[in-house]
């Protein structure tokens, strides 16, 4: 139970939130035509006669859109409806050449499922909450309008018209902006694992309609408003905060909340009414007579299930129990599908070249990725996808530390050079002469000199100031430019100082 409350003049108010997430299905072609879905093309170059609603053109569904919606449903543990239908949602707008959107109102393809979210992403032991998914249906996207190119005209680009969307409708199960944010992030992660949507909110591949209402704790649900087309997690949270506050002030001021559609203005951080005409929502849905019911057979469903990857929750559990990673490292690595893939490539290559089990190289691989590599990428302003060092090269570097060729501190230097030159670790070590020495004779000689040069400290050490041991190690390492095997130094020092 969330303890998020709006403090009003008449006491505390709870917030009730439901989200309708529109996710663009990752396919090459559109939902009902063969036109491309690629982002950023010249206007109206990816529009077929079907998408422009030319008379006589008939829709034929893209099998991959159906498949990805089913796989997404399965990943959310949802019921898949073997029988679904397409309906027409009728309205007039310049970005909708058909005069209706083909959607699924009465018989959606996916029924109830759920998403488990952590109530604090930064704390691996934080409690979790299950948020219900009401349904997923497939529908067409509309075109795009541009209003700022001409003084008296709007421009219409139909490239997006007919692109396949999944509308993922949650139950009104969220009670705070943080929960809604966690839901969107987790949903995005699952979609990216499944590969059904790229989750790119900046390009509009994922956007949310945010339903908000307020009530006194324990009372019945209040009237909700719907804020449309919110395109970032931060904005979703801001909409909830602003809208809940507005509703509380409205009710406490003697007003009533009107069920309406609103828009979010990020510049002013406020929502405002779209002032639509009263009958704008009379969509006169009816079954689309151009499309037969969509019936899925068992083979199709079996392929969908068999092709699902390991999902984030299962992966996190395996990272902890099988690979022995810390909950924090496991949670960080699984949060994004690309990071998990990179880590697994690094670990697999490490296991291969070291001839060990994955679990024996997992911790070193995770620590290096999340520490050294992430640190460097942050500094360089790069994402993991643009990393100058590949998983294979990273695994070679880690292996050189594991087999004692170089020390951990030398590894950091080698890595810096690899970032600049892209050279393999072994080449950097050979070129710069950074190979760690375990030559006992050479180390002994240096240790003897360090002890002789610091006779006063040796005396102090023997009087019980044992902390000076580290000083001797440091001096020896410094004299050998960091290339001595620290374990050998320790052993020799212990023997000499005994």
């Amino acid at each position: 139970m969330s303890d998020y409350r709006i403090q009003g003049e008449t006491g505390e108010w709870e917030v009730v939130i439901g989200l309708e997430v529109h996710a663009q299905i990752s396919t090459n072609a559109k939902l009902f035509s063969g036109a491309s879905t690629e982002f950023g093309a010249e206007p109206n170059t990816q529009v077929s006669l079907v998408d422009a609603a030319m008379p006589g053109m008939l829709p034929v569904p893209n099998r991959e859109c159906v498949r990805q919606a089913v796989r997404t449903g399965m990943a959310l543990g949802a019921n898949i409806n073997k029988y679904s239908r397409f309906d027409r949602k009728n309205y007039f707008y310049a970005d909708l050449p058909q005069g209706y959107q083909i959607s699924q109102l009465y018989h959606p393809i996916v029924g109830e499922g759920q998403i488990t979210v952590s109530l604090d992403d930064k704390d691996p032991d934080a409690p979790t909450k299950s948020i219900g998914v009401e349904r997923i249906h497939i529908e067409q996207d509309a075109g795009k309008l541009m209003h700022d190119q001409h003084p008296t005209m709007s421009y219409v680009d139909l490239n997006r018209s007919g692109v396949a969307l999944m509308e993922i409708v949650s139950k009104p199960d969220m009670a705070s902006p943080a929960e809604a944010g966690a839901y969107v992030r987790k949903l995005r992660a699952i979609l990216r694992y499944v590969g059904s949507c790229d989750g790119n909110m900046e390009q509009g591949s994922m956007r949310a309609d945010v339903n908000v209402s307020v009530r006194k704790p324990g009372y019945e649900l209040g009237t909700r408003t719907e804020t449309k087309n919110v395109n970032s997690v931060r904005f979703v949270q801001a909409v909830i905060e602003q809208e809940a506050k507005r509703q509380v002030e409205l009710i406490e001021g003697g007003g009533t909340v009107v069920q309406e559609t609103r828009l979010y203005d990020p510049d002013r951080n406020e929502t405002r009414s779209m002032r639509s005409k009263e009958d704008a929502h009379d969509y006169r849905y009816f079954p689309d007579p151009d499309l037969l019911p969509l019936e899925l057979d068992d083979d199709f469903l079996a392929e969908c299930r068999a092709s699902l990857p390991e999902l984030p929750d299962a992966k996190q559990a395996r990272y902890e129990s099988v690979l022995g990673l810390t909950p924090y490292n496991a949670a960080t690595l699984i949060a994004d599908a690309d990071t998990a893939r990179w880590f697994e490539a690094l670990m697999a290559e490490g296991a291969r070249i070291q001839g060990k089990d994955e679990k024996d190289v997992a911790t070193a691989s995770a620590n290096w990725l999340l520490g050294e590599l992430y640190g460097a990428l942050n500094r360089l302003g790069l994402s993991l996808a643009d990393s100058p060092v590949s998983p294979e090269r990273g695994a070679e570097l880690i292996a050189l530390v594991a087999d004692g060729t170089i020390s951990g501190s030398i590894a950091k230097q080698v890595f810096e050079i690899m970032l600049e030159t892209g050279d393999p670790a072994a080449k950097v070590v050979a070129d710069k002469g950074l190979k760690q020495t375990s030559d006992t004779g050479a180390i002994e000689a240096v240790v003897a000199k360090v002890l002789a040069d610091n006779a006063d400290k040796v005396a102090q050490y023997k009087d019980g100031k044992e902390a000076l041991f580290g000083f001797f190690v440091g001096q020896t390492m410094k004299a050998m430019q960091g290339k001595a095997n620290p374990q050998v130094i320790n052993e020799i020092l212990k023997a000499k100082l005994a």
Binding site: G34, N44, L49, M153, D279
Partner: protein, 100 residues
């Protein structure tokens, strides 16, 4: 079931069909005749009968996810798309300014 004059005018407005009062009034009995005629179907007991979607057994055909596989239903035909547009502008459809 029957409709009244305001309903006729509302449906006309939702369908963007311009209609003056005289036309709507003339249409009212016609629509109610049609509705009454269709309503006779309600006399048949269809409880437990699956709705029929096709007269002969037929299933929905699906397409493979291939771009421009069939030129008739593919993209890259902007000239055709815009051929009948009243005001094409730089590859866009130009329409009267619409802002919510």
């Amino acid at each position: 079931m029957s409709v009244d004059l305001p309903t006729v005018k509302k449906i006309a407005s939702l369908a963007r069909i311009a209609m003056d009062d005289a036309e709507a009034a003339a249409l009212l009995p016609e629509l109610n005749n049609i509705l009454g005629w269709v309503e006779q179907l309600g006399e048949v007991d269809v409880s437990g009968v699956e709705p029929m979607t096709a007269v002969i057994p037929n299933t929905l055909r699906l397409r493979d996810d291939v771009v421009d596989a069939d030129p008739l239903t593919g993209g890259g035909v902007r000239d055709k798309i815009l051929a009948n547009a009243p005001e094409p502008q730089h590859g866009f459809f130009g329409v009267p300014k619409v802002i919510e």
